[in-house]
């Protein structure tokens, strides 16, 4: 098991049947994630990040959804697995922290009971042991006076506290992989940093792997070892985080980087927004999905989709017909 990655995704596609035709929200995504590693998945809203996360969990509804490819989680196949089979993986192998801490807690249950639940049902603990462990977990995620908060209802806690509780619930089964789907949405900036640091500390402390899904490059820059840039369901570029930031080859990655503010910018610098919107995935052409918004796009881009190709480094891949040599290269040179 040790020579094999914890999570191995091969040619994963998730297609929704919509009235407008098939919509491929995740399109031929492949990646590996080793134990103790953190993978960042970045992309705009609607780029298929959340659908990818739910597919990794095996959480897609059976109706109107077709999942092809393979997701190997610690040697277990997730795609096509029965609910009973998935239930064995959930919580002990993989757990998920959801976007919105306001809706991921049951409003009428004390938070302690929500952590207890999994301990008692899945790990056969008795009431007292589960309670002790739940308080331990609350303490672990940095909730002060954990024993008292155990009896709190979600509405008595702030957004940041709630997200900590959600993380505690996810950790209850001691998963080897934690999928965090935009875990800081709806939290203010200082709390965001706290939650992200907490996740990173816990990863190191508990020896987990983490998949961190976000639209915020600042979140992944220092906290992930590898990065996967998604656009319109496809992998645009992937590689070690530092490489992708410094030597990105795909114009979309550059556009993303340029659209986030930097402290080194002069005051009142206009941010470079990416023109247009992500395409409607039910009505896309055969070529590169980013072509309509790309200033380097040629006819070739519009006709044939580029495949993922390695750069000088074999673990840094990108999909582009007109790759950038260096981040400083002037746009339009190759078209």
């Amino acid at each position: 098991m040790s020579d094999q990655p914890l999570l191995s995704v091969r040619h994963l596609s998730t297609t929704f049947a919509t009235p407008a035709g098939p919509l491929r929200a995740v399109d031929d995504v492949s990646f590996d994630l080793d134990a103790h590693e953190t993978l960042g998945i970045v992309g705009e809203s609607g780029s298929g990040k959340t659908v990818l996360a739910r597919t990794l969990m095996g959480l897609q509804p059976r109706l109107n959804v077709e999942v092809t490819g393979s997701v190997q989680l610690a040697g277990h196949e997730v795609v096509g697995a029965s609910t009973a089979r998935l239930r064995e993986l959930w919580s002990s192998e993989v757990a998920m922290v959801f976007q919105d801490p306001m809706t991921s807690l049951n409003p009428v249950m004390r938070v302690g009971r929500q952590i207890d639940e999994v301990l008692r049902v899945r790990h056969g603990m008795d009431r007292a042991a589960a309670r002790a462990r739940a308080i331990e977990l609350l303490d672990l995620v940095g909730i002060p006076s954990a024993a008292q908060r155990y009896r709190a209802y979600p509405f008595e806690l702030s957004g940041g506290m709630r997200q900590r509780v959600v993380i505690a619930i996810a950790l209850a089964g001691q998963p080897r992989l934690l999928i965090a789907d935009e875990p800081t949405t709806g939290l203010d900036v200082t709390i965001q940093a706290q939650i992200l640091d907490l996740l990173d500390t816990l990863r190191a402390q508990l020896g987990m792997s983490v998949v961190m899904i976000t639209h915020d490059l600042g979140v992944v820059a220092t906290r992930t070892s590898r990065l996967l840039v998604m656009y319109a369901g496809r992998v645009a570029e992937t590689g070690p985080t530092g490489d992708v930031f410094r030597h990105h080859r795909m114009p979309y990655t550059r556009a993303l980087l340029e659209s986030s503010p930097k402290l080194s910018n002069a005051p009142h610098t206009r941010l470079a927004a990416i023109p247009g919107q992500p395409p409607n995935l039910a009505r896309v052409g055969p070529g590169c999905h980013f072509a309509p918004r790309c200033d380097l796009a040629s006819d070739r881009c519009r006709e044939v989709a580029p495949a993922l190709e390695p750069t000088e480094r074999p673990d840094h891949l990108f999909a582009c017909w007109h790759p950038l040599r260096t981040p400083s290269e002037t746009p339009g040179a190759s078209s």
Binding site: L63, E88, S91, A95, S104, L105, Q148, R149, F155, I169
Partner: protein
């Protein structure tokens, strides 16, 4: 942490939640008391020092309130107070019995359909909407007209059956708004089974809506029984019920208005206290409403 589990002087968090809730208020307890009195009267009617509700007192025909007959007598000289107390038996039995049937069938179906969705939901919902499209009162009248002799049990079954689609619709939509929330997915991903999710995650969220709808439902059915009695389709005379007392008073309303007034007051106060209790309970137990 070094904190002991719960100390009496612990901060309010998770402690005495009642302090943060809207108080029930004295009117709530008056309503509860009145309702209790009604139930007690219905249960203990035989033991209470009441006149036989069927006994005729020829000295007092169509009499107003007096010391002999506190609420007066009807045109056959029967004691109205006694008839109201005995009549509450029919009203309360029909009200609670048919709601037991309506919720017993409609609630599990509604919750299951909303949680499962898919084909099961589609089929059950279609059937329920067909039933809803047909006016319930007409169906009840039709069935009760032919299903003779009319007994209390038959009336309860028919009204209960007619209430199933209504309960189903309310519970299904309430569950639907809960079942699509993320915490249900969180529970699933923790490995909880469907039965546990419905019982532990969904039911406590649906319960406040169910309870207030239940109380309104009892009130509606008690009125419906009155309407049926008015049409002569409820329990056969001379058995009193609030509905048929009001019905019988109609012919001699001009001579003895008390005959209509007292059962109407009993019915009205009963419904009022039920509705008020339902409303206060919903506000009190809705933990999400206390949210800032």
């Amino acid at each position: 942490m070094s904190d002991r589990p719960t100390t009496p002087d612990a901060p309010e968090i998770g402690g005495d939640l009642a302090a943060a809730r809207p108080p029930l208020g004295p009117l709530f307890w008056i309503s509860v008391g009145w309702l209790g009195l009604n139930v007690l009267g219905a249960v203990l009617a035989n033991v209470l020092p009441l006149v036989n509700p069927l006994a005729q007192d020829y000295n007092f025909i169509n009499a107003g309130p007096s010391l002999h007959h506190w609420l007066g007598t009807d045109d056959l000289g029967r004691d109205i107070l006694s008839r109201i107390v005995f009549g509450s038996r029919v009203s309360l039995l029909v009200g609670s019995g048919s709601m037991v049937i309506g919720f017993g069938v409609g609630m599990p179906l509604g919750m299951l359909a909303a949680y499962r969705r898919g084909r099961f939901d589609a089929v059950v919902t279609a059937v329920m909407y067909v039933l809803l499209a047909f006016p319930a009162i007409i169906a009840v009248i039709a069935v009760l007209s032919f299903w003779t002799p009319r007994t209390l049990l038959k009336i309860i079954i028919v009204i209960g059956a007619a209430s199933i689609p209504l309960v189903y619709r309310v519970i299904r939509s309430a569950t639907l708004s809960i079942a699509t929330r993320e915490f249900v997915t969180v529970a699933q991903v923790q490995g909880a089974r469907d039965g546990r999710i419905i019982w532990r995650e969904l039911l406590p969220n649906v319960a406040p809506i169910a309870v207030s709808f239940l109380l309104v439902g009892v009130a509606t059915v008690v009125t419906l029984e009155g309407a049926l009695a008015f049409l002569g389709l409820s329990v056969n005379p001379p058995t009193p019920s609030w509905g048929n007392m009001i019905n019988e008073s109609r012919t001699i309303l001009s001579q003895n208005p008390w005959l209509a007034i007292f059962p109407s007051i009993a019915l009205g106060l009963f419904l009022l206290s039920l509705n008020y209790i339902g409303d206060r309970l919903r506000a009190h137990f809705d933990v999400t409403e206390v949210k800032l």
